[in-house]
């Protein structure tokens, strides 16, 4: 019976062997009818079992059963002891002892049933606890797994973040480089235009000085003829020519200065600038630059300069860049329209300066293809371009916007698709 409560397989084995021994002993007793002496042996065995179960903690579950057995064991022991030691007394109380035995047996049966029930409940409880533990372990394992996964993902994310930061850094550096190369590219595109712009005044310088030499010869001839009137007239011509030489020399000088200024990184300092001259210079540069690139390109340009706007405080290199950009865009736009329409279209770009309250307004207008409404809010975004790949960096207007903002001004556009565009720059005249 104890086997039922065996706490582990080792005990199970031991108990099984004890049971066999028990059966053998029992068999022997019946076979040889050992008589009253073996009774004592059985009593001792019974007492040992009871003591054993109560002492060993692993058999706690069997205590209920043992407690049920104890009265019966005690009754039998008392019965046998009385029978042995006080035979007369035993005869007198045998009837009571039998009743006691019966009560003890009933008690034992009740205790066993109760113990069985309790054990069943205990088993159930234990099973439930085991299940609970298992579930707990499972959850624990899941948690560990999750934590591991989280750790892996976290490290992955950190790595990705670092990679993205590197990529961002690279992009920012590339952008700086692109802006620099945009400045250089716009200058490069203009090289031919600049050459032309310098060549023209230089031709005049050469031609007028040459013709003045010839006129000096003529003065000598006139003086020999004593024709003072003619000599004076020629001298007047020479003076005019020398003025023209100075004028064209200065023109070439201004172009070279402008070119150097454009290629030099911006000083960032505002200087007194003749906006009309600056606009005129860059209008010609961009026109000739485009002409040099595309022989078939043509457009007329007009200037409406308000001479009263005077000298304005601006960063000339930066303003030059803005103007150059707006003119180049305008000429590109009219050239595109010309390609589509050909006959009956007069490509025209104009620049106007005005004074409005405390602002200087510069208007660059073209009658080109215009800007579609759907891209209008993107034109100042860096790298936005409608030009075919390789023809525009998409930095021109973005850079222009930044420059005008830095001057405390505004840039606006009025456009109708297919009809042209008008860029209006407004900067404070006292800035």
């Amino acid at each position: 019976m104890l086997k039922m409560f065996a706490p582990n397989p080792d005990w199970e084995k031991i108990l099984l062997r004890l049971m066999y021994v028990n059966l053998v002993l029992f068999g022997l007793e019946i076979a040889f009818s050992a008589g009253d002496y073996t009774i004592w042996f059985w009593h001792i065995v019974q007492l040992m079992i009871v003591a054993f179960v109560i002492k060993i903690p692993q058999f706690a579950a069997a205590r209920g059963v043992v407690l049920g057995v104890v009265p019966l064991v005690a009754v039998f022991l008392i019965k046998d002891l009385t029978k042995l030691l006080f035979p007369e007394f035993f005869v007198k109380v045998e009837g009571y002892l039998d009743i006691a035995s019966a009560v003890a047996i009933t008690w034992m049966v009740a205790m066993i049933i109760k113990s069985q029930k309790q054990n069943k409940a205990l088993t159930k409880e234990r099973e439930a606890r085991l299940k609970e533990e298992e579930r707990h372990r499972f959850i624990e394992a899941q948690n560990m797994k999750l934590e591991e996964q989280v750790a892996i993902r976290t490290s992955e994310l950190i790595q990705q973040k670092e990679e993205l930061q590197n990529a961002l850094f690279e992009l920012q550096r590339t952008q700086t480089q692109l802006i620099q190369s945009e400045k250089m590219a716009s200058l490069g595109e203009l090289t031919a235009g600049i050459a032309h712009e310098i060549q023209n005044p230089l031709n005049f310088v050469n031609n007028f000085s040459e013709v003045s030499c010839e006129l000096v010869d003529e003065i000598e001839v006139a003086l020999q003829k004593n024709d003072a009137k003619e000599a004076a007239a020629i001298a007047g011509n020479i003076k005019e020519n020398l003025q023209k030489i100075t004028h064209h020399g200065k023109r070439a000088d201004a172009i070279v200065k402008g070119m150097l200024q454009h290629s030099r990184s911006s000083s960032g300092k505002k200087e007194p600038t003749d906006m009309n001259a600056l606009a005129d210079e860059y209008l010609r540069l961009s026109y000739h630059g485009l002409r040099a690139k595309d022989k078939l390109f043509n457009a007329s340009f007009t200037t409406h300069f308000d001479a009263t706007i005077g000298i304005v405080q601006v960063i000339p290199q930066d303003m030059g860049r803005v103007l150059l950009n707006l003119f180049t865009n305008a000429f590109y736009s009219v050239a595109e329209k010309k390609k589509m329409l050909r006959q009956g279209y007069e490509p025209t770009v104009s620049v106007t300066t005005q004074k409005q309250n405390n602002n200087i307004v510069i208007i660059v207008k073209d009658n080109g293809i215009g800007i579609p409404q759907k891209v209008l809010d993107k034109i100042y975004q860096p790298f936005f371009t409608t030009k075919p790949t390789g023809q525009g960096t998409g930095l021109g207007l973005s850079m222009s916007y930044d420059i005008i903002k830095a001057h405390g001004g505004e840039i606006q556009v009025e456009t109708k698709e297919g009809e042209g565009a008008e860029f209006i720059i407004s900067i404070p005249s006292s800035a």
Binding site: H196, E214, K295, N298, F301
Partner: protein, 124 residues
């Protein structure tokens, strides 16, 4: 001899007038000037067939010298004026284009007036 000079640089007029001082004074050559292709066509409409020789710059805002040449050669079939093209670039592309469109001669800037005078003598 009437010569129409087409150039967007106004100072060209003074230069021609001084370079051809004697010829102008002697009445051998009359100069007219236009500062654009459009201007040149206007002048030609007003002075029909008066210009014997047209000396035109190629690189001008608005109507280019090449377009002007096209107009002249298409419009004036018999006899079209003698057209000399002038360009600052002196490149083959413009030269070939001008020649294909019927230009009679080709000069490069800076203008060699001695050469121009020789050519005019030859044309006389």
């Amino acid at each position: 001899m009437n010569i129409l000079v087409v150039d967007d640089e106004p100072d060209m007029q003074a230069l021609f007038q001084q370079k051809f001082r004697k010829e102008i004074r002697d009445g051998k050559i009359n100069f007219a000037f236009a500062i654009s292709g459009e201007d040149a066509l206007d002048w030609m409409q007003q002075h029909d067939h008066e210009a014997i020789l047209i000396l035109s710059d190629i690189n001008m805002p608005g109507m280019s010298g090449i377009e002007l040449l096209k107009h002249i050669k298409q419009k004036y079939e018999t006899p079209p004026p003698y057209v000399m093209m002038v360009t600052a670039y002196g490149d083959d592309e413009n030269y070939n284009l001008a020649m294909k469109l019927g230009a009679d001669d080709f000069l490069t800037k800076p203008l060699d007036f001695t050469l121009l005078k020789e050519k005019l003598q030859f044309n006389n």
